[in-house]
């Protein structure tokens, strides 16, 4: 199968995946005995007409299956509905929050991937030496530390005790965001030539990106180390050394490519996971991203927001997995996409 055919086939498979996701999420969120209409309308102060209108708008007075088909009909027309908690379209909210999370994720991966891979390589080639012990300790600390604790500590130490980084947010208080081209403040600042917001956005990214990246770094480091160790013990590596190739060539030309495959899987899944929003990190650093939005939506039973967020996450995961599979083929020519 050609690569483009494989990609199209995988993207078409996205449709039944999304249908399945919507059925499950819709059912679970709607069967909870709750009164979201009254909650949206103001709780005890809600006016009966307002409650009735919201109920009608959400079709809460209809059977569940009928409510689902109303939702599906809106979805086909690319209408994700309205977020009652934010009183604006879900699509508008996601369009604001997704770039914020994406930007944070990119910077987290910039920290996690190179350091994780290099750390894993060093750890493997210097197995049982001091550098291996240190990197393994870093890895253990990375995935053992509760992320909220790390976030709070970084905030406390580097934003309060030694205030070299900002406490929270994407920009300094009161600073107007750059002209929107992409929603990524760093890129938009560059495109609009706004040096002040560029510096501020980068400055604000450091602590939350490190918080998110550290845990991912740990995972990548461990995976890289174990797969490198496995590959380094292979016969063909022994042969390469016996042929007199330099250690550098043995490691980076022969061992690394094979060792990368499981690391690519883990990296891809981590990327997808981070893109779905890191609730704790975003909450502590007051980052207006998908994680916080999703948390508010779930707690407030904002059905449309929950559905919209879930759909987006499903799409992200499918695309992340697709990219991972394509990268397999790039890294390992033996891998044939589509199995053909």
């Amino acid at each position: 199968m050609k690569t483009w055919e494989y990609i199209v086939r995988r993207l078409l498979l996205l449709i039944p995946v999304l249908i399945g996701v919507t059925i499950i999420t819709f059912t679970v969120s709607h069967v909870i005995p709750a009164d979201p209409a009254r909650a949206f309308a103001g709780g005890p102060k809600a006016q009966p007409e307002t409650i009735a209108r919201i109920r009608a708008e959400l079709h809460l007075d209809k059977p569940l299956w009928e409510q689902y088909f109303y939702y599906l009909n809106d979805l086909i027309h690319l209408n994700l509905g309205k977020s009652f908690l934010e009183e604006r379209p879900v699509a508008t909210a996601l369009a604001q929050y997704f770039p914020a999370t994406f930007e944070l994720t990119i910077f987290a991966m910039i920290i996690a991937v190179p350091f994780g891979i290099i750390g894993g390589i060093i750890s493997a080639i210097r197995q049982n030496k001091l550098s291996d012990h240190i990197t393994r300790i870093i890895a253990i600390v990375g995935y053992s530390l509760p992320i909220f604790w790390l976030a709070l500590m970084l905030q406390y130490v580097f934003a309060y005790q030694i205030p070299i980084f900002p406490l929270e947010g994407r920009l300094s208080a009161g600073m107007t965001s750059p002209t929107t081209f992409t929603g990524f403040y760093v890129l938009d600042s560059i495109f609009s030539g706004n040096g002040a917001t560029l510096l501020s956005s980068l400055h604000h990214l450091v602590l939350p990106a490190f918080t998110l990246g550290f845990a991912t770094l740990a995972i990548i480091l461990r995976m890289m180390r174990s797969s490198m160790l496995e590959v380094m013990g292979s016969d063909y590596i022994r042969t390469a050394r016996a042929k007199g190739l330099s250690e550098r060539t043995v490691i980076y030309k022969h061992a690394l490519r094979n060792a990368m495959i499981p690391t690519i899987t883990v990296t891809g899944l981590s990327f997808g996971g981070l893109l779905s929003g890191a609730v704790l990190t975003e909450t502590i650093f007051n980052w207006p991203g998908m994680g916080r939005f999703a948390a508010h939506a779930v707690l407030g039973l904002d059905f449309n927001a929950v559905m919209g967020f879930t759909l987006l996450v499903a799409i992200i995961y499918v695309i992340a997995n697709l990219i991972v599979d394509i990268l397999y083929a790039v890294v390992d020519p033996r891998v044939k996409l589509g199995g053909g």
Partner: protein, 558 residues
């Protein structure tokens, strides 16, 4: 081997030193020395507040939640207003003076001249009529706030007598009318701007007005980044002028995490922050920080379900007994860490006619003996033996509910359960999320006792007494307790449709004497409005009717 050990030693020592440095920095916060002198004022012309929840809209005809109203009050003006922490007096704003006719229904407002909106458009009577009619026509479907005006006004009410005189003829006398006119829903918008951006469509919110704001108030909207911050800048055309001390810029940040707000306040990044009661200890005695508290109009209530399947809940003596079981002091001391004031009845302290409620002295107190006496006299004695103890109500458990995440209500529920057990009443404490909680309260009778609160819409007791103890048929019983009393309804209506202080006072006193002896609610307390603030913030005062008025704030040390 020897060189490896040396390298190991050096690396090990270095690692230990680095760890020690982090530990020392981390613990230094625990033993932070008091700084000498006042800390340098950060952002001297900008007021920064960290809070939870963000506005839903900036449209006064739609705004009903407190976060939205906070900003509306600073961007727009109303005809009348409150000043400082004075809740008793209504002051001129866009109206310089007003009269009420002998019919008690016709109000004439004389408007302030020379006022401009922040875009330069002149303000006059047509904007007033447009703004008030707009609220009624739009009848915000998202918030339902229009009821505040529509309870006494309709589209025929407002008449322009001349460019600076407006007459409002109410469809019925309303004792709290001026208080309504001071609420954010009565804010005056620029007719020209609204007409140019969606206009007024019946029963439809204006999407443009949700995120744009042109008012006559001291500040204008600079930008609003959802779930992040809303920024206001000073309105150079403000009719009140800018002589004296005022902040130029206001930044209100939405920060869900308490620790972030605490650190922001302690570091001076925030001038003002909402800090939960249990975290006030984290800002106490911090350099440059003080805890502000004053009675708010927010009340904490316990609700009795008189329609419960447990029919004993319909018995007023049972509810009186339960009112004596509840430990009010424990609620104040333990649940609210001392930040709760006693509440004698429906009307909170500071609101007119508070003194009609036993002169402000709560009728009920924690008295288990009295509770037992009432129950025994009603025939609900401890006769059912279960696991060695004797219980009342055939060992039927009273179902106590609180909404999850509310620490204060959880503590009160557990304390109540203990006290009930001590006089032989079994109970079950349960919790669920807010939407489920509301569903239980409003759509089921599957509860006996729940906790809830209430916040003011406007500064008039009708906003409390009517919804609390009025019957459902009279537009009350907001908490679905199922309680009703014809005389109380009569008194509520008498006070509502009268402007005479004496008549209103007598009516509320009569109503109180009835409903307090047949309680549908436990009046647990009146919350303290408690916030952390920097000592450099001057001009701040708390008014339950207008929580924040940034124009008065400035930063300096006294």
């Amino acid at each position: 081997m020897r060189s490896f050990e040396k390298k190991d030693m050096k690396a090990g020592v270095l690692a230990i030193l680095i760890c020690a440095m982090f530990i020392c920095v981390g613990f230094s916060g625990c033993t932070q020395q008091q700084q000498q002198g006042n800390p340098e004022i950060k952002n001297p012309t900008t007021y920064v507040r960290y809070d939870i929840g963000e506005p839903k809209t900036l449209d006064p005809a739609e705004a009903y939640d407190s976060a939205s109203c906070d900003e509306v009050f600073n961007i727009y003006d109303q005809l009348v207003t409150y000043h400082g922490n004075d809740t008793k007096t209504i002051y001129p704003a866009l109206a310089t003076n007003w009269t009420v006719g002998s019919d008690q229904e016709t109000w004439t407002f004389h408007l302030r001249q020379g006022v401009k909106f922040s875009n330069g458009d002149p303000f006059n009577a047509s904007d007033v009529k447009y703004s008030l009619d707009r609220v009624l026509t739009m009848n915000s479907p998202d918030s339902g706030v229009a009821w505040i005006l529509s309870q006494c006004m309709d589209l025929n009410s407002t008449t322009i007598l001349d460019p600076y005189t407006v007459q409002i003829k109410l469809k019925n006398t309303y004792g709290g009318f001026l208080a309504l006119m001071a609420f954010s829903v009565a804010s005056i918008v620029d007719k020209k701007i609204v007409e140019a951006n969606g206009g007024v469509i019946a029963n439809t919110d204006n999407e443009w007005m949700k995120e744009h704001a042109i008012g006559t108030g001291p500040y204008t909207l600079d930008h609003w980044t959802h779930n992040s911050e809303i920024v206001l800048k000073k309105n150079d055309l403000y009719w009140g002028g800018w002589s004296g001390n005022h902040v130029d810029t206001v930044v209100v940040k939405t920060a869900d995490e308490a620790s972030t707000r605490i650190l922001a306040l302690n570091s001076g990044d925030a001038d003002f922050a909402y800090i939960p009661y249990e975290n006030l200890v984290d800002i106490k005695n911090k350099t440059g920080v003080l805890i502000f508290n004053a009675p708010s109009y927010n009340v904490v209530l316990g609700l009795f379900n008189t329609k419960s399947e447990n029919t004993f809940m319909a018995n007023k003596d049972v509810r009186k007994a339960l009112s004596y079981v509840f430990n009010y002091q424990s609620a104040i001391d333990d649940a609210f860490n001392g930040y709760l004031f006693p509440l004698p009845g429906s009307i909170p302290k500071g609101m007119p006619y508070y003194e009609t409620q036993n002169n402000g002295v709560p009728v009920y107190n924690h008295n288990l003996a009295k509770a037992a006496e009432l129950l025994n006299a009603s025939g609900y004695t401890q006769t059912t033996k279960f696991k060695g103890n004797y219980y009342r109500f055939n060992n039927t458990a009273i179902r106590l509910w609180y909404n999850s995440g509310n620490a204060e209500r959880q503590k009160m529920a557990l304390s109540f359960q203990q006290d009930l057990a001590s006089i032989g009443i079994n109970s079950v404490v349960s919790t669920e999320s807010w939407p489920q909680y509301l569903n239980r309260l409003y759509n089921t009778i599957d509860w006996d006792f729940m906790f809830l609160g209430w916040m003011p819409d406007y500064n008039d007791p009708d906003d409390y007494v009517a919804p609390f103890v009025g019957s459902a048929a009279n537009g009350g019983d907001t908490f679905h307790t199922g309680w009703a009393n014809a005389t109380v309804d009569q008194m509520i209506n008498r006070a509502k449709f009268n402007v005479s202080s004496q008549i209103r006072s007598d009516s509320y006193a009569t109503a109180f004497n009835i409903y307090i002896n047949d309680p549908s609610l436990i009046y647990i307390g009146q919350e303290s409005y408690t916030r952390g603030m920097r000592t450099w913030l001057q001009g701040y005062s708390y008014n339950p009717c207008i929580e924040y008025y940034y124009y008065n704030y400035y930063k300096a040390y006294k």
